[in-house]
């Protein structure tokens, strides 16, 4: 673990902040770090910035993320990692489908991807959309909101399906709510398009030994968090089951 000083805080939306650290990290898009908030908790966070600064984008959802939101430039956080297997570059025309904060691990991938890029960015409402200006500059961007406050009114998967009906893609990259990613998997399998998805599970050790984050025997922290569609299609827990802190199976 490295104790890192917060170099900069960017308020992205009313519920999202990006925290930049005073370190350079050799990492791949899709990899994550374990963030220790001393005396509070430790949580896994995907890297949203890798080049030109190391950063995480944090949605306020609970005690740990609220504590992170309360931190300022100069404060210290513990960082373990980077961990896990990130996204693999594939093809020359990609569709990126993000739901909510799921855009965070996709952002450095979109920046690095060489080829044609179409991004579907979905959020509950206009004010929760992340990285819109950055994405506009580097991709063809379609926005969806659940409430229709901007862009297409509906789910990101509906927009993705429309786009996939008109255009062919070599690869689909996705991150967001698991139900959304499951729907994307179905759409991709029907069309024979490869997909890579970044999964989330309750995580403890982060280093592949405690079994807390396993899905059908694959460790999200070590074998993932990014999994390929061929493997995802064999996982009957994907989109259905996850585990709580005690290891009890609960619905996704």
């Amino acid at each position: 673990m490295h104790m890192c000083r917060i170099a900069r805080v960017v308020e992205e939306t009313s519920i999202h902040k990006t925290i930049f650290f005073d370190i350079e990290m050799k990492a791949e898009p899709g990899q994550f770090v374990m963030i220790w908030i001393p005396g509070v908790d430790e949580v896994p966070m995907s890297l949203s910035y890798i080049e030109g600064g190391t950063g995480i984008t944090v949605e306020k959802v609970g005690e740990a993320t609220e504590a992170i939101h309360g931190m300022r430039e100069g404060d210290m956080l513990g960082v373990r990692g980077p961990y896990g297997k990130g996204f693999r570059m594939a093809g020359s025309k990609a569709l990126f489908v993000a739901g909510g904060t799921g855009i965070a691990p996709l952002l450095p991938l979109i920046k690095r991807y060489r080829g044609e890029k179409h991004v579907v960015l979905g959020a509950r409402t206009k004010e929760y959309l992340l990285f819109v200006e950055e994405l506009k500059n580097i991709s063809s961007l379609s926005i969806t909101t659940d409430d229709g406050s901007i862009g297409f009114k509906g789910f990101a998967t509906e927009m993705a399906e429309k786009i996939m009906e008109k255009e062919d893609f070599d690869i689909v990259y996705t991150c967001g709510p698991e139900i959304m990613m499951k729907k994307m998997l179905d759409l991709c399998m029907e069309r024979g398009i490869e997909m890579q998805a970044s999964l989330e599970r309750y995580m403890k050790c982060g280093i592949g030994i405690c079994d807390s984050c396993s899905i059908n025997g694959y460790r999200v922290c070590k074998d993932g968090p990014v999994f390929d569609s061929n493997l995802l299609a064999t996982m009957d827990e994907f989109g259905r089951w996850k585990r709580n802190e005690a290891g009890r199976r609960i619905e996704v």
Binding site: M1, M3, M34, W36, P38, G39, D41, E42, V43, M76, G78, R80, K204, C205, G206, I207, G208, I209, C210, D211, S212, S214, N216, G217, R219, K222, R243, N244, E245, A246, G247, R248, R249
Partner: protein
């Protein structure tokens, strides 16, 4: 060449997966087809969420952890134990008293070849290393009633006394050692790192402690000993067996070399034995005691 037997349980090699490592789910356990046995996660009567993160901290010579016996409770957990595709499954159980131990043992017994009693978790209130020494025999007797061989896992502190109490209760083997009670503090902020502040230290750094404990137990008692602590290579297995261990367990080694450590060490063991003129690994057991 690598075959061993403990309390009537035949194993293709002496390498067992230690409790607490990738053994919460059936499909994870099934990644250890190359192990002689897989020990389950320690389970208790009720669901336990364990301690707050951080629960694991990687250090230069080992791993510090305080998971806190997180488990879904034995009734839920046995669903993971239906026809696990590995050679042998050993059920690890914990409890705060003989009755609780007995209850969990009876529930898990139909699914396992033997029961390992966790009486040594160094950071759990009452149920681990703090389990009163004089109550160990009664707990072992209660667990024996479940009808399976009983292994008792003990830690480095008062190890001979605790081994003797386990033997008194009728244990079929002792497992030594558990993690070593330890702590780490971040000096930038002054905060203890683990959510529970105190945890257990495992990995490379504790091997000499484990060797000493196995040697002392094997020198003083006839009971079979299963050695555990800091094994990452075939040479470590040989050393534990020379100290008297009949089999060994690997836990943190999975962190150092991942899941393939079992097949790799099995192969390395065969090579080592051949090179040193042994035809069976059983021939190295206890060599150091006779010197």
């Amino acid at each position: 060449m690598l075959r061993v037997e403990i309390a009537g349980i035949k194993m293709k090699n002496p390498l067992m997966l230690a409790s607490g490592i990738l053994d919460l789910t059936k499909e994870s356990m099934e990644r250890f087809v190359d192990a002689g046995a897989v020990v389950t996660k320690s389970v208790g009567r009720e669901e336990r969420k364990g301690y707050k993160n951080p629960v694991v901290y990687e250090m230069e010579y080992g791993i510090l952890n305080a998971i806190g016996l997180a488990n879904p409770g034995v009734e839920e957990y046995v669903r993971e134990l239906e026809e696990v595709g590995v050679e042998n499954v050993i059920g690890s159980v914990f409890g705060g008293n003989a009755e609780e131990f007995g209850y969990v043992a009876r529930k898990i017994s139909p699914y396992v070849k033997a029961i390992e009693m966790n009486m040594s978790c160094p950071h759990a209130k009452r149920v681990g290393a703090e389990y009163p020494e004089d109550e160990i025999p009664d707990a072992v007797k209660e667990v024996k009633k479940a009808g399976k061989p009983v292994f008792v896992k003990i830690g480095m502190e008062n190890i001979l006394n605790r081994a003797e109490r386990a033997i008194e209760g009728g244990a079929d083997a002792v497992v030594a050692i558990n993690t070593v009670k330890a702590m780490a503090i971040d000096i930038e902020t002054g905060h203890p790192i683990l959510g529970n502040r105190v945890g257990g230290y495992s990995g490379k750094g504790i091997k000499p402690i484990g060797i000493r404990c196995v040697y002392e137990i094997s020198s003083n008692y006839e009971i079979p000993v299963i050695g555990v602590g800091g094994i990452t290579r075939a040479e470590d297995v040989i050393e534990y067996m020379m100290a008297g261990a009949r089999a060994v367990q690997i836990g943190a080694g999975v962190y150092y070399r991942d899941v393939s450590i079992f097949s790799e060490i099995a192969k390395e063991l065969e090579e080592w034995l051949e090179k040193h003129g042994y035809t069976s690994i059983k021939d190295v057991i206890g060599i150091a005691i006779k010197k």
